[in-house]
Amino acid sequence: MTYLVPQHPLQLVELGAERFSRCFNCGNCTAICPITKEKASYPRKLIRYSLLGMEDKILSSTDPWLCYYCGECSDQCPRDANPGSFMMSLRRYLTTKYDWTGFSKLMYYSKKAEVIAIIVVAAIVGSIIYLLHGPIVETRVELETFAPYLTTEIGALTVLFVLAGILLSNLYRMYRFVMRDENGNRIRVPLGFMIRDFIRIVPLHFLTQIKIKECKDRQKNWINHLIIFYGYAASFILFVPLLKFTQTNDPFLFVNPLSILGIFSTIALLYGASIAIYGRVKKTQPMWKDSHSTDWMFLILLLLTTITGILTGIFRTFGFPLPTYIMYSLHLMIAAPFLILEVPFAKWSHLAYRPFALYFESLKERYLASKR
């Protein structure tokens, strides 16, 4: 049984698929897409489902996560319906559906709500710093005294666990939506397969994102993705689990391996974010043509987090106590909403959804094979 949700297509329009109702169902997009296989055939079929409001079909599909928006489909669409941006908006849509907290929906459907949420989180972090900071030493830089290690680490770990918790529960919801057969009935796969496929698929694709390379001329994109990803991962490790060693009073030391990692991750983030911002402003690639407010917010917060981090380091190295403390507080106030809001609820959740989509797809295949 399929329920039709009449407002479903309108939601996709809000999420960026402005012209997809022009589609006249010719199948050119499916045929030109470099990554569709005989059976995984999209975008046309998904466009049909969406236009009819067949929400179940969309929710149970992993296909949107296979598309990397190379834009070949949009280039050749005879109706200029922009199927590539439709696929993008489906990913936004699914993100809002997988997320049970409702934050994702709020952020994707209302720019205002997004800005308010960011300000609120920043304000909370600001107040905590104001209330809990240690003594302010003005004669020399005493960052450890200003921001006692234990307090900061507790804060950082809380963020980490909340993040992980939300993401995992969202992934579970994704699993529930996706693991259904043609008729919408739930399907199960033996635990052994689940573990084997997990090990085979998820780490590889999470760490390499190798699928991008199936798109034409996307080598550069793939490298850029990896740069941002590893820059981000490195700084996350440095400043959350390793906070004890990185939040120090010591000036910057080039010999310290942690500092070197820090330099690498900072440069990587600055480079990646600048390329992405430049690309989105100039619309150099199809996937950068339809920027949503969350895409901008993500990049802006990423850039600001990185810049305030660098400035904190500079002030500390040159021994300016007050500017160091203020910059560090700002850094935390920006990093917190960035980590809490943008990562699990908006764009960056795709880092998790993409490899899991491949994983679930392979589980489904196993189920179908066992049926045959």
Binding site: N28, I32, K37, P78
Partner: protein, 431 residues
């Protein structure tokens, strides 16, 4: 009552212009029929058979062309173009440029001796370059008028100042290298624009590789392959190896219904491809034909039945899906089509020996008239519903594909309508 109607000008000598001229002339009105090429006939002359009855196209057209030539009320001006139009409804002053044929029309008897002897070979437009004509030529054997024309650009005498073979062999001394262009001035009551269409450049749909892959054809080329007067004498053979194809794909809506090239539907190409698939089966009973379409437009009388026959009687396959690309197998020169079967939702490839692109059309207009066009690129009509032949200029009517993509029967109907409108002005001006 002395009733002396003023003349009417018909521009374009395809089926639409021919019909308009005959319908006017039969009412006793003087008609000037201006055609820019050396012969009247238009695209219909190039067709092999017509849907849905599969009549021989030339057989039903040539009697009309001869009737035009013989009609006492029609003055035929071929190889001519309208260069200036002034005035208004009931009173247009028209300047016509008659290009030199370098052959005296009075003397030439169309014997063909000159073009058998002419040493300069040129790709033949009538067969879309698939065969050759000479620099002195008639476009096709049933040409009206049956007079030779020298194509100055390819004539050795005009390019290199030697040869003059045609002059030597012509039995009536009709060759005249000194002929000059002539300007003719007319006063007419009304004008019928029947300038037809041209096929859109198929290389704009680059994904299908026309011009790059030898065995990709456009529909009009296929029409010539089918025709016994065509370059292969009616044999369907591949450009690459002169062999009969075992299977043929027809791709619909090439350069039509595509916002980036031409958003309009070209109206007759669905039926033309159905016709081609049937004719291909008649020529080669074992050939497999597949038509890739998005929507099949079988709108006219007997067209749905024609389509049903293709499917049931001839076993033509219909595949719903717009192919995304064609690739060529380098050794065999076979063509691999990638498409989605939109009925099953499966993405597939299929290999064909030959592919025919049903390429779309765009209208042509005489520049001298400066006709206002509408958004779709066709001439703007004053009242599309109740007066669909009247342009924005009073007294100027339009018919045939120039007025909007259509087939032959619809063109003929429209010509009758325009002839009546044009005749009202022609008679009325004498009151």
């Amino acid at each position: 009552m002395s009733y002396l109607p003023k003349p009417v000008l018909v521009i374009g000598g395809g089926i639409a212009g021919i019909q308009a001229a005959l319908d006017l002339a039969d009412q006793g009105i003087q008609v000037y029929l201006v055609e820019k090429t050396p012969s009247i006939g238009g695209k219909m002359m190039q067709l092999d058979k017509t849907f849905p009855t599969l009549d021989c196209s030339a057989c039903i057209l040539t009697p009309k062309m001869v009737a035009v030539a013989r009609h006492p009320n029609i003055k035929l001006l071929t190889y001519s173009e309208v260069i200036e139009v002034t005035g208004s409804a009931g009173n247009f002053n028209v300047k016509i440029l008659k290009k030199p044929r370098y052959v005296d029309e009075e003397k030439c008897i169309g014997c063909g001796i000159c073009f058998n002897k002419c040493p300069s070979k040129v790709p033949d437009e009538f067969n879309l370059g698939m065969s050759q004509r000479r620099a002195i030529y008639v476009p096709f054997p049933q040409a009206v008028p049956l007079k030779a024309t020298i194509d100055k650009e390819h004539c050795i005498y005009f390019t290199k100042q030697r040869c003059r073979v045609c002059e030597k062999v012509c039995p009536t001394k009709a060759i005249n290298y000194e002929q000059k262009p002539e300007t003719i001035e007319l006063n007419v009551a009304s004008i019928v624009v029947a300038t037809g269409y041209q096929l859109i450049d198929p290389t704009l749909a680059a994904q299908y590789g026309y011009g790059k892959y030898q065995n990709v054809y456009i529909s009009l080329e296929f029409e010539r392959l089918l025709s016994s007067t065509g370059p292969t004498g009616g044999e369907i053979v591949r450009r690459s190896d002169n062999k009969h194809p075992k299977n043929i794909a027809f791709i619909q809506c090439v350069c039509s219904r595509d916002v980036k090239i031409n958003p309009n539907c070209s109206a007759f190409c669905c039926m033309a491809s159905v016709k081609h698939s049937i004719l291909a089966k008649e020529h080669l009973p074992n050939v497999d034909c597949t038509i890739f379409y998005m929507d099949l437009r079988a709108f006219g009388k007997g067209y749905q039945e024609f389509y049903n026959r293709a499917m049931r009687e001839f076993g033509v396959k219909f595949m719903r899906g717009k192919p995304a690309k064609i690739e060529e197998e380098p050794e065999t020169k076979n063509l691999i089509i990638t498409y989605e079967d939109t009925f099953t939702g499966l993405k597939k490839t299929m290999t064909f020996d030959m592919v025919v692109l049903a390429v779309g059309v765009k209208p042509i207009y005489p520049e001298a008239l400066k006709l206002p066009l509408s958004e779709d690129g066709y001439v703007q009509l004053k009242n599309q519903y109740l007066d669909p032949v009247l342009t924005m200029i009073d007294g100027v009517y339009t018919v045939g594909v120039a007025a909007g993509a259509k087939d032959i029967p619809d063109s003929v109907v429209q010509s009758g309508n325009a002839a009546i409108k044009a005749s009202i002005l022609a008679g009325g001006a004498q009151k």
